[in-house]
Symmetry: C2
Subunit: 402 residues, 2 copies
């Protein structure tokens, strides 16, 4: 960290830490749904996805808990991966028509993300897409609770959500402290049935959330860097175990708790944490509807190669030495190159994800448009290194081949 | 962690995570006092220690903030290190007589700990020592806020407090979710004036809090073990820097934030975390009024030596390899011995603390009584390894010489 007597402004931001989400974690987590939910409302909207929760008993358990607490339950099912603004509109309609006071989202990041927009939309007198298009604040919002069924996005403990508008081919994020879940119920056993592919994609997503904060020139704090490395080690150890042995509680529990802490704001408190890989990926899934974590896995090592320079090499050295146990007595640039190879090996061998865009049916035809969109109206995506559309396009191109 | 398909009960407890303390961290932290305090009460009791805050401007700043928000301020000063139940009684009297709605504690762990007992005492119709002697629950309690001036006990973000009764020579702890501070204001600059000795003792205290949870046979969670190691590395790096260079913001900030996370319940969530070194130390400071962190530093390596066995060696290996960078290819027992030497070097050389009890004027005359008291009425202190009075006495004896 260099010389002593550095003053605050040089490396560490002031911050407010305020993560109020209560978590019930473990095999008995869902037993608390009734008593927690009734603190917030007598009528609750239950949101979920494709109905798998009806097959594995989660739906029955949730209904039993809510009704047992004397809560009137309304439902909105069919929320899709890369959730769409239409689902949000439908949810808002049900909430408003019935005077519903809270939402219980049961699912992965897609269901919880969409529910955040519904929670704010219920308090708004405008179309919820304006949270994105006009950057209207997502506040106030009715209380949101969540039952997590997949470890990936961290939506169960963070403020933000991502929503897709198929008409405009936009996939964008927003969020507010008011949309952070009040209570989340995390039973790792519920993720036993998550497929090998979704487990791999989820692990890639968690790791990417940590990378987005870790790869930061300004605002680093030693303690938080080391904690990020602890979280990375957790994902790198347990992602492959969960794929091979889906009912390994230890692996599922570690992945689930790591998913929450990778993005709940704790690790990013002292930094700017301007994300770059996620916005680049969002264009991939907005244009092609590919799985978010898969897109991140393909993009990340290329983004790393593109960012690597004398100025940034120290972060790659930290990652390689502290997480991948590389020999620290090598040249920094050599360590950095080995680090990126380790990242590739993790994504494409240990997790078994597809290693380039052609393998998932994507070619260069939309790269120009996607690159521009990824950089937004400002024309530049600020972050670990600032990226302009021509930079983003080069990164996409690097993803075409191994 | 051994074989896959372990079930929950074998190694990881279900838990509820619920840490609602809001933290304003950084050079501007105290600017938020007024707006936060007025959310809780119109009359506030300001508690503090020996008046150093009047010399360094903190007192004036706090008063300006509170009065600027239209809050009526009452005061209780003179709260001592190893705070006594008498201060609590006095605080409760002031709170009750004036119908005061909240407390702002300004100081280190002693002031904040004593204020927790006052916060609960204000809602009780019995003498506050009964929170200890009769284990009466410290709930309900009026809201507590804190301004931290020393990084050590973590009281700014946890539920518990320690209180001393000079009449009975007892120093004991209690706590409740209701006594966890609602808001804490952490400006690392306020710790610039903490003496070298107190900085060393505070660093030892933080490290001991982590050890108490880390050295655990049951209930470990890989992710949390790695996070504990991240926190330990932080203390080991920055304790000595803060001693040499008291106005090093980076060092003070890392120590301060680590102090909160060492004990706010996050790292102990999955485990039983039965503490043993702290109760053994509490007898030292109850009988001799020595500085808590100094007592912990002297006791810890002896306790480690006493606990080391084939059954426990793996934790020492983890600590040595992951924190002290020891060569992992050695025999486990050899790594463990080197680990304990590293711990001694840290406490007694890097932090410069006295290395045995004789150096601080303590001999064996009270060891029998202290050993019995440390084990409580049950006659055994359960923890990493269970300790009976004869075990505790041996540990005290090991502390007499280097």
């Amino acid at each position: 960290m260099g010389k002593n007597n550095k003053k605050r402004g040089d490396f560490m931001n002031n911050f407010t830490y305020d993560i109020g989400t209560k978590i019930h974690f473990g095999t008995d987590a869902l037993d608390y749904i009734g008593e927690e939910a009734k603190k917030y409302a007598d009528k609750i909207l239950l949101t979920y996805g494709g109905g798998s929760i009806k097959k594995n008993g989660v739906y029955d358990k949730v209904i039993k808990e809510l009704e047992g607490a004397g809560i009137e339950v309304f439902e909105l099912s069919g929320i899709q991966p890369n959730p769409r603004i239409d689902s949000v509109r439908e949810g808002v309609r049900i909430l408003k028509e019935n005077g519903i006071g809270a939402i219980l989202a049961v699912g992965g990041g897609s269901t919880i993300d969409a529910s955040k927009f519904m929670a704010a939309g219920a308090c708004a007198d405008f179309d919820p897409w304006k949270f994105i298009s006009e950057k209207r604040p997502m506040s106030p919002a009715i209380p949101l609770l969540s039952v997590l069924t997949m470890a990936a996005t961290g939506s169960e403990m963070d403020c933000g959500g991502v929503i897709t508008n198929p008409e405009t081919k936009e996939k964008l994020s927003s969020g507010h402290a008011d949309t952070r879940p009040k209570v989340s119920f995390l039973n790792p056993e519920l993720t036993y049935t998550v497929s090998k592919f979704q487990t791999a994609a989820g692990s890639a997503d968690i790791l990417s959330h940590i990378f987005e904060t870790y790869f930061n020139i300004d605002g680093t704090m030693f303690m938080l860097d080391r904690i990020m490395e602890a979280l990375m080690k957790t994902v790198i150890k347990y992602g492959p175990i969960a794929i091979k042995d889906p009912e390994n509680y230890e692996a599922r529990a570690n992945l689930m708790w790591a998913s929450s802490w990778a993005i709940n704001d704790f690790i990013s408190d002292s930094s700017q944490a301007a994300w770059t890989v996620h916005p680049i990926e969002h264009e991939l899934s907005a244009f092609y509807d590919i799985t978010h974590g898969l897109g991140l896995a393909i993009l990340t090592p290329r983004w790393m190669e593109y960012c690597l320079s004398e100025k940034t090499v120290h972060k790659f050295v930290d990652l390689g030495v502290n997480v991948f146990d590389l020999d620290k007595d090598q040249e920094p640039m050599e360590i950095a190159r080995q680090t990126i190879e380790k990242v590739k090996k993790f994504f494409f061998e240990d997790l078994g994800l597809d290693s380039n865009l052609r393998k998932v049916g994507i070619d260069e035809r939309h790269f120009d448009e996607m690159s521009k969109k990824a950089c937004g109206k400002a024309g530049v995506k600020k972050g670990f290194i600032d990226l302009r559309p021509e930079d983003v396009k080069k990164i996409y191109e690097m993803c075409l081949e191994d």
